[in-house]
Amino acid sequence: MIIGLFNDWVVVVLMMIGLYIVIAHGNLIKKLVGLSIFQTSVYIFYISMAKVEGGSAPILAESIKQFSNPLPHVLILTAIVVGIATTALGLALVVRIKEAYGSVEEEDIQHLDNQTQTESPKKVLEGDQA
């Protein structure tokens, strides 16, 4: 049971580590790291699912009789690209947040937001240092 589903265990453990970091950490960069780990666990899930024991890469050759399922591998290539785009966009946002708020800690940002809400309804332009 435990050994047979070894890959699934790895996936679940990684997934939980990732999700935990996203939820528990207040640092925006750490949250993105957690998100990446979470996504990576899904990549491993897809890749290990398609592996056939003793199978080789899907190449058309006489010596190769058994091969792994290439479809999930290709699917996950797309998901990896999506993951990179998400991380890049997230990091870009963190840079802008750092410029606008002067901090990358969730607590500080929420504190500053509460201040602006009570102070005045005047518009806060980006780039302002509070």
Partner: protein, 492 residues
Amino acid sequence: MISHLPVLQVIVPLMAAPLCLLLRRAQLVWLFALLASSLAFLISILLLQQVMTSGVISYELGGWEAPWGIEYRIDKLNAFLLLIITAISTVVLIAAQTSIEKEIPKEKHTLFYILYLLSLTGMLGIVSTGDAFNVFVFLEISSLSAYALIALGNDRRALWASYQYLIMGTIGATFILIGIGLMYQMTGTLNMEDLSQRLPQVAQTRTVFTAFVFVIVGVCLKLALFPLHLWLPNAYAYAPSIVTVFFAATATKVAIYLLIRFTFTVFGLSFSFTTLPLQGLFLTLGLAGIFVASSAAIYQKNVKHIFAYSSIAQVGYIIVGISTSTVMGLTATLLHLFNHALMKSAIFLALGAVVYRLGTIQLSSFHGLGRQMPLTMAAVTIGGLSLIGVPLTVGFVSKWYLLIALIEKGWWLVAILILLGSLLAVVYVWRIVEAAYFKEPLAGSMPVKEAPMLFLIPIWTLIIANIYFGLDTRLSVQVAQSAAQGLFGVSP
């Protein structure tokens, strides 16, 4: 040409997006984006006509046969959704250039239209495709451009809202990806039609249960079902006005489409509602959403926040409609998708006009606006009445159908609760009407003029549509009804 319409629906905005870069001048780019969106609108009308007369259209991408290749499958439900999305997108784009001139720095205008078109592509793709993995790809196309669009807002809180949406949205999309993977593991297929035939054979396994839960939770995150709605209010409130209009009217609708598609088609009605307790869950969360979000809306100071919370409440009505799992309930749900898109886009567009003139959207700055911007505020009021569900507006039609569905089902208590929920809407709409018509302008505030024509034309087009479809319900009800019957496998 006609036979390629399903793919052209997605390709036109997709190709138009990078072409915007070549045009450079903001005005030109705006006209070009408007042209692309109008073309998409035209295609969706043709598709709806074709589907209504000759049934489901199946298009094989690249000529690869269905279960192996990617299939685009347009039935009445898809065609209906495509029509809503493209129509709203086109009307909203008319006002886009005027609105973003005040809200977005000039050098970012071209980028704005590119992101807008990409987001539109993503939504159209989600709806057109019949392939589960393709759904994920298009979902991320539309979401990634959505995060960037929201971050364009000129308040720094827009950045924070966008970041939170990115985290929540990515978790949701990844959940959907896990669910799709588990389904593939059990059936070896990604095609939705094929999945719906193969899943019943393995329905009693734990893997399929898990797959179902992952997909449903992921989709519910995207559609902001209470209590997974936390990303929505700030994202809507601080995004540029045009972005708010577009997303409030379409983004949650697309997620609701996914929910309907997965529960009714892919997993099947009996699995979703009989084997699993989805009915009670949706009913409870839907009702809780209506009351919690409507009550929260009453206490907001930012008018965009009021209507953002009201959007969450409206999602509640839609979910209650789904939870009845009858043809009538689903008809009400689909009608409300259409009607809610009409009223919310009209309201948020009018709010965009207020931001254009005043530069702020706090409730206190609305004092006396009823006299200074009569046409804009009249639009907000009529949109608000529609939201409450007053007769002669579209809001009444969908609430009426929802009530009939609930009474048919014998759920009297739920029907009464729905009516009570509408009363809460009266309260928050009244607060705005009171501020605009019955309060004197604040001392020292500058007098403002009526909104420019490029705002008034789309706003009033939407308002007239609100009233027209409230009186003449033949088109919307007929399409919604036959789409619902299609999902239940009843031949119309």
